[in-house]
Symmetry: C2
């Protein structure tokens, strides 16, 4: 009889599941990296993140705003200017972003070395 | 004129993009956590990872095998038994798994506290 998932395993599955539910997907973490680098206008963000469509960027920004990572400010001058900036809560992602970045760099070097 | 993405930003975008391409998505990291806990038969894996269908589990296991995280062994007795186990390369994901787990736990506590 296979054993049930240990508590440690179940807790880890739940925690990683929660994280992926909020910050998973192809684009959210990349938008946060681009915002961290000071790209806070829509078109600038879209240019910075290769391959993202305007529709997807708009949806992901709304999600990030709803989950408290991004603040959207509308400057009502002429022309109207919309700016996006990271909230303090996005700083909590530092460890995740650095772990994924380190791993991606290592993986790319491994693939290159195997060629 | 908006500035171009700095090198640091571009490298980080590329590295995180590479990582998400290989280990992104809803299920791959959870399958690795379940395998790490000793669940190495197909049905046992499917029971352990809430919500995953047999079809998706099968596809994800093939991807993980192709990318060198999982080894599939067929024991040709009667009945035939198929077992999955993690390769050494999956250990490189330790930092990513722990960062995501920590963040997910923290995020759930924050949400609970806000209620």
């Amino acid at each position: 009889m296979e054993e049930k998932c240990t508590n440690v395993c179940q807790n880890h599955l739940t925690a990683v599941g929660d994280a992926l539910y909020v910050i998973g997907g192809k684009w959210k973490l990349r938008i946060i990296i681009a915002l961290k680098d000071g790209h806070n206008r829509f078109n600038d963000l879209q240019r910075t993140i290769t391959g993202i469509s305007a529709k997807v960027l708009s949806t992901e920004l709304k999600d990030l705003e709803m989950n408290g990572f991004v603040k959207r400010t509308v400057h009502t001058g002429t022309p109207v200017i919309v700016e996006y900036e990271l909230t303090g809560y996005s700083d909590t992602l530092h460890e995740v972003l650095s772990a994924l970045g380190n791993w991606g760099t290592m993986h790319r070097e491994k693939i290159r070395a195997e060629r």
